[in-house]
């Protein structure tokens, strides 16, 4: 069973989350449901700091033993930090997708884009439909 989706953040239909940090920027990761689908994550390809991406563009790549999966930027912006711990311990995403397993921090180019994202409740609904 996936962990509960925390209500303190927003979700994309591609199973990423964004959460405001206290510096006016956002933290980006994948959901617990997503890490379960990916299974054992053995490698994370992180972007360079300063990389600018539009919404839905590939911002990172995670690999399990069997598969290679793109992680999309939930919204457009600039990468201002990456979770370098994932280079040595990619399994942090499996262990704690909503916390220690965060992937990048971004400065959003248009905060107004947030309305494209889902609340935790909406994301729960979407998962129910996806599983049924």
């Amino acid at each position: 069973m996936s962990k509960q989706n925390p209500k303190d953040r927003l979700y994309s239909r591609d199973h990423e989350w964004i959460k405001d940090d206290d510096k006016g920027t956002v933290i980006v990761g994948i959901t617990d449901y997503a890490q379960e689908m990916l299974t054992d994550i053995v490698f994370v390809d992180l972007p360079e700091i300063g990389k600018k991406v539009v919404a839905h563009a590939t911002v990172a790549v995670v690999e399990s033993v069997k598969s290679v999966s793109d992680i999309y930027a939930p919204l457009g912006g600039e990468v201002i930090d990456v979770n370098t711990r994932l280079e040595e311990t990619p399994e942090l995403i499996n262990q704690d997708a909503f916390g220690e397993g965060w992937i990048v921090k971004m400065r959003l180019s248009d905060a107004g884009e947030r309305k494209m994202l889902l609340s935790a409740d909406d994301y729960d609904e979407m998962l129910k439909e996806e599983k049924s």
Partner: protein
């Protein structure tokens, strides 16, 4: 057979450390019987089978006229004039049609029967396989040698037990009628519970075979590749006649240009099937299999490259997405069990 029952790494390590049970019913089985069964097999297969004893298994290649590999399959000598071929799943029908057409053209006095549908197959692999299977059979498995088989009942059902596999571990391939194979699976799972046996899927099967340097038909091998370009020279016996031999000898005399080699990533990244391989900025080949090795904790693969660069320790690069990532040529296998 699913890709995984729990997760690939766990199933992989369980097979190396205890035992894994694989449902391999998708593979093909063909019976060849009759006074000229051996003559037919000698003509279509690369391996010399004249000295094969009853109860022995031999790996061989089935080639087309151009010397390309149609399939790599195992030959079971069941009796004088009676053989079972165990083929890969994808080329099964191609194998059947090819062998059948040659039997008809050459008028060999033997019959072929595709028994794939009525034959089930389970692979029990790993260091604890013997103690598990021994609980379900009266045959003394200790005396069963590698690449040999016996035909004792397993859990009361007629079966073939072959000491062989596709993981690099000790283990058995078990054949029985497809309508009893589920019951044998259940009995094996119960018998193996205390030994740490778990079901294992296609994902672990792939990482286990790759660590052991074994090739996968359709991925590392295809009909344009000959046994001389891959580590299969040893299953070709040029002292006998077989289909594809003339082309093979011509390829050998004109010089083999490419070779399948083991690679290990030294930079960060995992090589995957289809990624391009470079040396000094020049494209020299392609990755045919690549994964993260759960036993070695590093990224490994097989690559089909220009033979000029095939010496171990040659530094190469693999194009992973838009990055040239450092790798090197290594000797096969990547993993060898301690005996």
């Amino acid at each position: 057979m699913p890709v995984q029952y729990t997760n690939v790494i766990d199933e992989h390590r369980t097979t190396r450390g205890a035992a894994g049970l694989f449902d391999i019913c998708h593979m093909g089985e063909i019976e060849v019987k009759g006074p000229q069964a051996l003559d037919l097999l000698q003509l279509v297969l690369t391996r010399n089978l004249a000295d094969q004893t009853i109860g022995q298994v031999k790996l061989s290649a089935l080639l087309n006229e151009e010397g390309g590999i149609i399939d790599d399959l195992t030959v079971y000598k069941m009796d004088e004039n009676s053989y079972m071929l165990v083929t890969n799943a994808t080329p099964k029908d191609r194998d059947w049609q090819w062998i059948k057409s040659i039997q008809q053209e050459e008028h060999f006095s033997c019959t072929l029967e595709d028994i794939s549908d009525q034959t089930g197959k389970l692979d029990l692999q790993g260091p604890r396989s013997e103690e598990i299977l021994q609980k379900l059979t009266e045959a003394n498995l200790k005396t069963l040698r590698f690449y040999h088989f016996c035909e004792p009942p397993v859990a009361g059902f007629p079966a073939i037990i072959s000491r062989s596999g596709y993981t690099g571990e000790d283990g058995f391939e078990i054949y029985a009628a497809s309508d009893v194979i589920d019951e044998i699976w259940d009995k094996l799972m119960s018998a193996g519970a205390q030994s740490g046996l778990k079901p294992a899927g296609l994902g672990a099967r792939d990482t286990l075979r790759l660590e052991s340097g074994m090739m996968l038909n359709g991925q590392d091998l295809n009909e344009s590749i000959s046994p001389l370009e891959v580590p299969y020279g040893w299953i070709v016996d040029t002292h006998k006649e077989f289909i594809g031999k003339t082309a093979l000898m011509a390829r050998k005399n004109s010089g083999i240009g490419s070779k399948l080699v083991g690679i290990e990533m030294t930079g960060r990244g995992i090589a995957r099937h289809g990624y391009k391989v470079f040396h000094g900025g020049k494209e020299i080949g392609i990755v045919t299999s690549g994964t993260f090795s759960p036993t070695l904790n590093k990224a490994i693969g097989l690559a089909f490259i220009d033979i000029t660069f095939s010496a171990p320790d040659t530094e190469i690069a693999v194009a992973i997405r838009d990055t040239m990532t450092a790798a090197k040529i290594v000797k096969l296998p990547f993993y060898k069990r301690s005996k």
